[in-house]
């Protein structure tokens, strides 16, 4: 194992070690579970995370699949949360995330940026956009699985059942409104409000100008407000 990996990530998987069992991903700065994200701007990956990612990428480039799967563990929740908000379909989002990870693995040697998270996000956004383009229409009934158990927020004893229900109701109305704005506006708002990227990072990620990103975000918010004008009482604290 590369000493750099051990230095930045003591729990890195040793080559040849048995694969990590599917389970809750250890909480890191770059992979905070979205279900628990309650702050406006989630913690951003710092230099330590970037160094860890670069070390894992180098290890994966040497043929260590476990190192790449470690990156998958770190970012799969974040990527799924992003794509499911963009495509409004759980299965399609899962397909987009799987395609994104396969594409990232295939093109790992092309990764040059200093932020693996941004690179991966861009790939996942492209995958989600391709899926939407293939559909050529917005889903008439976004998130048909509203009553699915997968939507139930994690149990929070301190929050109480009433607050949990409010959170869930808010999420439903937000998701329904988000499904009705344009894909570009939706992606920009998710990247800014949920993932915490700044305008310039979003511009680099989506390949448009800074002004276009700002315009998409502001017009998208305005559209959301018009769509949610009857339900604003639910959204206010």
């Amino acid at each position: 194992m590369d000493p750099a990996i051990v230095a930045v990530m003591p729990d890195a998987v040793e080559p040849g070690a048995p694969p990590v069992e599917d389970g809750p991903v250890p909480e890191t700065a770059g992979a905070a579970p979205l279900e628990e994200s309650t702050t406006h701007l989630p913690p951003r990956p710092d230099e330590l995370d970037r160094a860890r990612d670069r070390a894992l990428v180098e290890e994966a480039l040497r043929g260590n699949l476990d190192a790449f799967n470690r990156l998958v563990e770190l970012y799969q929740d974040m990527l799924f949360g992003l794509t499911v908000r963009v495509v409004n379909d759980r299965d399609a989002a899962a397909d987009a995330v799987q395609e994104a990870f396969l594409s990232a693995y295939r093109n790992l040697s092309r990764f040059r940026g200093d932020s693996f998270r941004s690179w991966l996000t861009r790939i996942a956004l492209n995958a989600a956009t391709d899926i939407l383009r293939l559909r050529k229409r917005r889903p008439a009934d976004p998130f048909p699985e509203w009553e699915d158990e997968s939507w139930q927020p994690p149990t929070n004893e301190a929050e109480g059942p009433e607050a949990t229900a409010v959170r869930r109701s808010r999420s439903v109305v937000i998701a329904q409104a988000m499904a009705q704005i344009t894909t570009d506006q939706r992606a920009a708002i998710v990247l800014y409000d949920v993932e915490g990227y700044d305008y310039q990072e979003i511009a680099d990620m989506t390949g448009v100008s800074l002004g276009t990103v700002k315009s998409r975000i502001h017009r998208g918010r305005l559209a959301l407000r018009d769509l949610l004008s009857d339900q604003m009482e639910l959204l206010r604290d």
Binding site: T38, Q76, L102, D130, W151, L222
Partner: protein, 314 residues
């Protein structure tokens, strides 16, 4: 009918986007910020809009998403399929960022190679190109220079054979200049009949720098070569040998004139070959090789990019 004019909602005329930007702490200049504050203070609907935008932004950030339906870690089979064949991996390596300078280098190699080939006189060994013509022309010049150089050496001797040598060398030079490209020219021989046999007017040797220089240079005996060859005591063999116009314009066709080489004394064999080999100079060969290699690399990288292009990496 009240007769009262219907007043448009003033809020509809307000800059809603400005309010949205102000509410989300976007970078506004001082004038814009002052205008936004004025709107919020004077228009309750603008103030409500700002509050709603903040609430929506908070709710969006805190919104729930369904849990992922499966684990996305790659299995060894998936990884092997994603890696592809060895050729694909090799081609993928060519398009990696580490090889980013490969294409500009290849392009530069092609350009440099072409430049070298052109500078060296064309593609070597390619009949009918500037290479062979220039080779013949340069051979003519070199032969003439050789004649002018070798003549003083012979002048040092007691023999007065220098005019003949000069004549033969000049004739060789002119012949080399008029040789059609595909035909090799024998060393030390003159070929004036190429032009004269066809009945065409021969080219003047005065166009050759060596021939322009030669008449002005006196030899050791105080007699210039031009004078020696054009003196009344001798027939104008130099001009004829050169296959061009003579100092004595006769107006006769060149084919009717006697050729100089068989008439004159045999010229000494030049120390260097009159004609360069038609294989071209090493510089041209190097340029050609460089261009071919650069072109091959360019083609290879193009194929690699096409073969390994991923629609999600854009």
């Amino acid at each position: 009918m009240t007769g009262e004019p219907i007043r448009p909602n003033e809020h509809d005329l307000h800059e809603r986007l400005l309010v949205v930007r102000f509410a989300t702490d976007d970078e506004l200049d001082a004038a814009e910020a002052a205008r936004a504050r004025g709107l919020l203070a004077s228009c309750p609907e603008c103030a409500a809009l700002a509050n709603d935008i903040k609430a929506i932004s908070r709710a969006t950030a805190a919104s729930l998403t369904p849990s992922r339906p499966r684990d996305f870690r790659l299995t060894p089979d998936q990884a092997a399929a994603a890696r592809g064949s060895r050729i694909r991996r090799w081609l993928g390596g060519l398009t990696s960022p580490g090889m980013g300078s490969l294409r500009p280098l290849a392009g530069a190699a092609v350009a440099l190679g072409l430049l070298l080939v052109v500078a060296a006189g064309g593609i070597p060994g390619f009949p009918g190109t500037a290479t062979t013509r220039d080779t013949a022309g340069s051979a003519a010049v070199s032969a003439t220079e050789e004649a002018t150089i070798s003549t003083p050496a012979e002048i040092e001797g007691p023999s007065n054979a220098s005019p003949a040598a000069t004549t033969a060398a000049a004739a060789t030079a002119a012949a080399a200049a008029s040789v059609p490209p595909p035909q090799p020219v024998a060393q030390g021989t003159t070929m004036p009949s190429v032009a004269t046999d066809a009945g065409l007017p021969a080219r003047t040797p005065r166009a050759q720098p060596g021939n322009e220089k030669t008449p002005q240079e006196p030899d050791a005996s105080g007699q210039s070569y031009g004078e020696a060859s054009g003196s009344p005591s001798e027939p104008p063999k130099v001009g004829l040998a050169a296959g061009g116009a003579t100092d004595q314009p006769t107006g006769a066709p060149a084919a009717a004139r006697p050729t100089s080489a068989p008439v004159l004394a045999p010229a000494p064999a030049p120390t260097t070959p009159v004609n360069q080999p038609q294989g071209g100079s090493p510089l041209a060969l190097f340029g050609l090789l460089l261009g071919i290699v650069g072109l091959a690399v360019l083609v290879l990288t193009f194929v690699a990019r096409r073969a390994t292009k991923d629609p999600l990496i854009r």
